[in-house]
Amino acid sequence: MATAEKPFIRQDGKDKVTGLGRYTADLDMTGMLQAKFRYSDHAHARITRIDTSKARALPGVFAVITHEDVPDVRYGPFVQDRRLFAKHKVRYEGELVAAVAALTNEIAQRAVELIEVDYEPLEIVSDVEAALQPGAPLLHEEWASYGASEDVVREGNDCSRSTILKGDPDKGMAEADIVVKERYVADMSHAVPIEPHAVVAQWQGDRVTIWSSTQVPFIARSGVATTLELPEAHVRIVVPHLGGGFGGKCEFHYEAQVAALARVAQRPVRLVFSRREEFLAPDHRREGQVLELETGVRRDGSIVARRGRLILDNGAYSADAPFFPQLAAMMAAGPYKIENVFVDASLAYTNTTPSGSVRAPTAPQACWALEQHMDSVAGQLGMDPVEFRRLNIVKNGDEGPTRQVFEDIGAAETLERAVELIGYGKELPDDEAIGVAVGWWPSFGIASGAYVKINGDGSATIITGAQECGTGAVMALPLLAAEILGMEPESFSLLYQDTDAGPFDSGASGSQTTFNNGRAVMAAANDVREQLLDLAAEQLEANRDDLELKDGAVSVKGSPTKSVTIPELAEAAHGSTLLLGRGADAVPEMPASDAAGCTGRLGMESFLAPTFITHAVRCKVDRETGVVRVLEVAAVHESGRVLNPIGANGQVEGGVVMGIGMATLEGSLLGEDARQLNPHLLDYKLQTASDSPPIHIGWVDSPTKPGAGGPKGSKGIGEPPCVPTPGAIANAIAQVTGARVHQLPMTPARVWEAMQR
């Protein structure tokens, strides 16, 4: 059942199709200067001297700043391990050493090149396994003195370690009839929004307004306030249209550096990234992983034990990645019934661009490894891989890897529907095969707020802290309010992505907008609905309990002629009563689990309102060249209840194509100097329209209980669609070639090499 019975046109749509909508890089202001950064010249080095005098002397330069020009503050959401500008050391090629503001980009670039920096190069650590070896050079010698959340387990280059333990995995493994052990490696990849980062900052007295291409304006505000030592009330973040994010624009990026430049220059300053900078600098790329997975099964196909050792690449600084090990450990266990589990996951510092949340962080890579491993185990059992999953997938009443008991889930149904949609088992040419993979993903319950105002003419305005990154999640909020108020969604305007206007929201991250802000908007709409009913009771001189609100009017039940419309109520209220609803629904409680034996617990020990997904793909593999072509995808999701089918389908279509890209092409190559060798779209290829196959979408309707999920029993939708795609493609490749590809992305060369082994 869907809320949107008729096609819903997003409010920002006309602005976007006419080219009139403004994105951050489109903003211009009188006297505005252009910013450029001086990046590190080494991936790992001690700084011995910085001399900015020649840059400062260049005509047209208004500001040159380094660590000396900003407060000496370390920041980071879990571990405070970084500064706005490098002070003693640089730890990756994209680290900032200095920033310049000048009249033009050309002058700013020349000034950046005139800054003299002397270094003492240090040994580079770019391999995650080497980073954790005893005696490996420490990236952060002073790691133990850093401020950090007390739940983060740290030791030297291991920035965050988590374990998941259930039962007795060693005993279980010893009892297994068959044990399969495999190793998989995933390369780092990127979010690649088509809009590169942009920031504009302008001061008015001691207050700064920052227009930023951020997914998380409130987190950006907090970052600016912390690092520049300002009250949050002095920092306003406004996000113009945002040209995609996918996690790459989460966290706090360059708002503070640009604000600091603007303060020194006493002018507005604009920073716009090149595509190359977009690859090198932002601290939010998808982390590489090394995964060792071991599974013990009985001959009947039941899984008796799983052990896993995971090392995730943190990069040089920790951004929001410290919760990844626990999340990846859950992913490596998977949505399967397993009696005994032990997964040990670490997050290793390396001299590379920092990792951070990119669409379903850790999941596509870990699922790719696990789902190949599941097929390998099925192969050893002589069992059909779908049958093996059918036997082990979690159902209502089953326990997860931390003894969370699942309720109201439809995991098994996604498997059945996906194999049906793709025609699993049908006759195919000998260079084609169908691969299947199952994945899961949590919803994130976070506080979030909204207001709903009824305007003088009976139209309404939603004021929300939520951030629109393109998915349409904010655009769909009027659907929820309109239903409660008996109004048309088109009667609502939206004020959003401005930290001075809306209540706190954690931003366009974690697929949380509808899940959390949707509940807040509904609460605000219900609040104002009560006010309308109170007012109508006065106007109609009726008992309030006898009133009903529908189709834009309040009437007395049973006497529809005795009614008053919302515009009439708004007019009556004008000047005497404020019609202003406030909403902030309680955050759903985390499901119970038994995490007594787990370490590094950072909130992922159980999954709130988990989504389950099965993708089944038909692929063609050219045995001569290793080129893989995805011909058709069936994507079936259980996301609770779907509220906006156009929006939800759009997430699946986009996520699947992103997953195909990750599977076949997308990965950064690193040189020996730990520099990215392909930081541009010529050699880091995205999928094009002609690469993208038909996608058959299915939804399993399985709403959560009230209070256990999002509005109307919905779950997060944005991230899950890219989770199982790479694993399904890998399994199709192995079906055709008889060879497993153990490294992601599965480029033609790697597929071909696997066939030669």
Binding site: P193, E195, G470, L681, A689
Partner: protein, 155 residues
């Protein structure tokens, strides 16, 4: 050294004085004041900067502005009718879920218009091929392809 040129953009003449090294995109976005064409990659890979030059789609980031002197340029701002009515492609992009973040949309619409101008009834493969110079990270292209198909069917 700046050279005088006249850029004819969306039917209006813009006299400009520009250095020979300037690309068309930067002149459109600054001197001409039309920011609909976007810069996504600066090397002709993403297509967000696409405009029509004498009816042909070009990546304006990789085209010298002076080469466009006196020629007819159409940007995304020139697609809607003078009365503000959306071009059928613009409406179809909205109806079919072809727009999410919108950053690729201007270039994508220009590519789609160029295709339908030269081939009013393309099949799906022809549509996908024609749009393969425009990268979209949000939609997986499905909604965009549906939109172009819908307009082609109306014709």
């Amino acid at each position: 050294m700046r050279y005088d040129a006249t850029l004819k953009v969306n039917g209006r003449a813009y006299p400009v004085a520009i250095e020979p090294g300037r690309n068309l995109l930067s002149v459109l976005r600054s001197e001409v004041g039309l920011t609909g064409a976007k810069e996504g990659c600066d090397d002709s890979e993403c297509g967000a900067c696409m405009v029509l030059l004498d009816g042909q789609p070009v990546n304006s980031c990789s085209y010298l502005a002076l080469q466009a002197d006196g020629r007819e340029i159409v940007t995304i701002e020139g697609l809607a009718g003078e009365d503000g009515d959306l071009h059928p492609l613009q409406q179809a992009f909205l109806d079919q879920g072809g727009v999410q973040c919108g950053f690729c949309t201007p270039g994508m619409l220009i590519s789609a218009k160029a295709l339908l101008d030269r081939n009013p009834s393309p099949d799906e493969d022809e549509i996908r091929l024609a749009l393969s110079g425009n990268l979209c990270r949000c939609t997986g292209y499905s909604g965009i392809v549906r939109a172009v198909q819908a307009v082609a069917e109306q014709r």
